[in-house]
């Protein structure tokens, strides 16, 4: 069957349209190896000690976006605690005991500048450097500048980071077109009820503003 020139054009146009439409999904969020972000933060055994410095750990990920209106990184979280002993009169660890902050944004050479990336209020701090002078959790909440996991749970799809267009090309084949975001978590080992804890944060990048 011989296709007429008109039909060929239609098919080409359709293919092109589909491609452009796909490319319009212009944000990418990956781990630092440009794979799917699936990071684990094991705090391990949180044995109480004498230190006033919380245990801390970090996760890094890359964001790319060529959307003219910029990008937003949203986060939701769930948190589960399974006590392994009775609680009488004591406290069990909760999401509000885990500090969360964005501690670094590293801009690669191909990223558009000057930039006005904005970290959500309360998340622009380093949980690792907050001293627990009383041996109690030193984090409060986002409103007072020391956000915790509880702030995220209470506000699903919370925008924790936003900014203008990152680059013209958001493809992950470029080594210089992304922003590396570092998120730090902090937690002070205490005489909480014996338990295991687990929390999952889901990060999503979407069009801004």
């Amino acid at each position: 069957m011989d296709l007429g020139r008109g039909i060929k054009r239609v098919i080409c146009a359709a293919a092109g349209t589909l491609f452009l439409h796909s490319a319009a999904v212009a944000q990418v969020l990956t781990d630092t190896a440009d794979g799917v972000l699936s990071a684990s933060i094991p705090f391990g055994n949180l044995t109480p000690g004498t230190s006033t410095t919380p245990s801390s750990t970090q996760v890094q990920f890359r964001i790319r976006s060529n959307n003219d209106t910029g990008y937003k990184v949203r986060v939701s979280a769930i948190f589960n605690v399974t006590p392994t002993s009775v609680v009488p009169g004591g406290a069990t660890i909760s999401a509000s005991d885990i500090g969360v902050g964005i501690t670094s944004l590293v801009i690669e050479p191909s990223v558009k500048t000057p930039r006005t990336d904005a970290i959500a209020a309360g998340f622009n701090y380093d949980p690792a450097t907050v001293l627990a002078a009383s041996g109690l959790s030193p984090y409060t909440d986002a409103a007072s500048g020391r956000a915790t996991l509880a702030d995220i749970i209470a506000n699903p799809n919370l925008t924790i980071l936003s900014g203008p267009k990152i680059t013209n090309n958001q493809g992950i084949n470029s080594p210089s077109n992304f922003i590396t975001v570092t998120v730090t978590f902090g937690l002070l080992g205490q005489f909480f009820t014996p338990a295991t804890l687990s929390g999952v944060l889901t990060l999503t990048i979407v069009n801004g503003p």
Partner: protein, 217 residues
């Protein structure tokens, strides 16, 4: 027709690649464990290593005990029910003279017990309504028994009573939360000893080490 198939396949490939490349979500999983935890320290938060010096035990004509120049105040923390056990070492006597038919001081001449407890604190579990239990005989918070004839009285318990590991105290969970630097999540227990100076065989010194152990149960 061949061209149509090729274009259709190309479009499909482009879509698949685009979909696979542009991940827009990621997850971070936070995990941890709060283990069973107990702690016993001195009043500075350091490892307990106290000395109760009874000094020179010169006999007098009173029935007044010597209780030493110091006491052992112990801070206890736990996130579970706990027990405290005590064990004394043998009485090590140095420079002992000849007994010559007399008696030499022994572990049973030295009373041992808990002289006081502070069971409240802002981050003490069940503060104000705790029911910590001192094992019978070890509670001397009301005072030591009275010596009446210048001899060792009938102590409830002596160092001889704890010559093997012996439980002296137990209770429910102590700490609500906080760590070892928290100033209000512990209970304090004061350990005391007492003896009546007598004409025991002379010596230049004696000592016994009491080892306290806290455990969760």
């Amino acid at each position: 027709m061949f061209l149509l198939r090729r274009l259709t396949m190309s479009a499909g490939v482009v879509l698949m690649l685009a979909s696979a490349s542009y991940a827009q979500t990621g997850t971070i999983t936070v995990t941890g464990t709060n283990p069973e935890a107990v702690s016993m320290t001195d009043t500075t938060g350091a490892v307990l290593s106290s000395t109760i010096a009874l000094g020179t035990l010169t006999p007098t004509n009173t029935n007044t005990f010597t209780t030493g120049s110091g006491s052992a105040v112990v801070r206890l923390r736990s996130n579970k029910a706990y027990t405290i056990t005590a064990q004394s070492s043998v009485l090590n006597v140095t420079g002992g003279g000849s007994a010559d038919g007399g008696d030499t001081i022994t572990l049973s001449d030295i009373g041992f017990g808990i002289t006081g407890m502070t069971l409240t604190g802002g981050n003490v579990a069940n503060s104000g309504s705790r029911t910590d239990s001192i094992v019978s005989g070890f509670d001397v918070s009301g005072g030591w028994p009275t010596a009446t004839n210048g001899l060792t009285p009938s102590f409830g318990k002596t160092l001889a009573s704890i010559s093997s590991s012996t439980q002296v105290l137990s209770g429910t969970r102590i700490s609500k939360k906080g760590n070892l630097s928290t100033s209000d999540n512990f209970i304090s227990v004061t350990i005391g000893v007492a003896t009546l100076p007598q004409f025991f065989t002379p010596n230049t010194g004696f000592s016994s080490v009491i080892t306290l152990t806290i455990a969760a149960f």
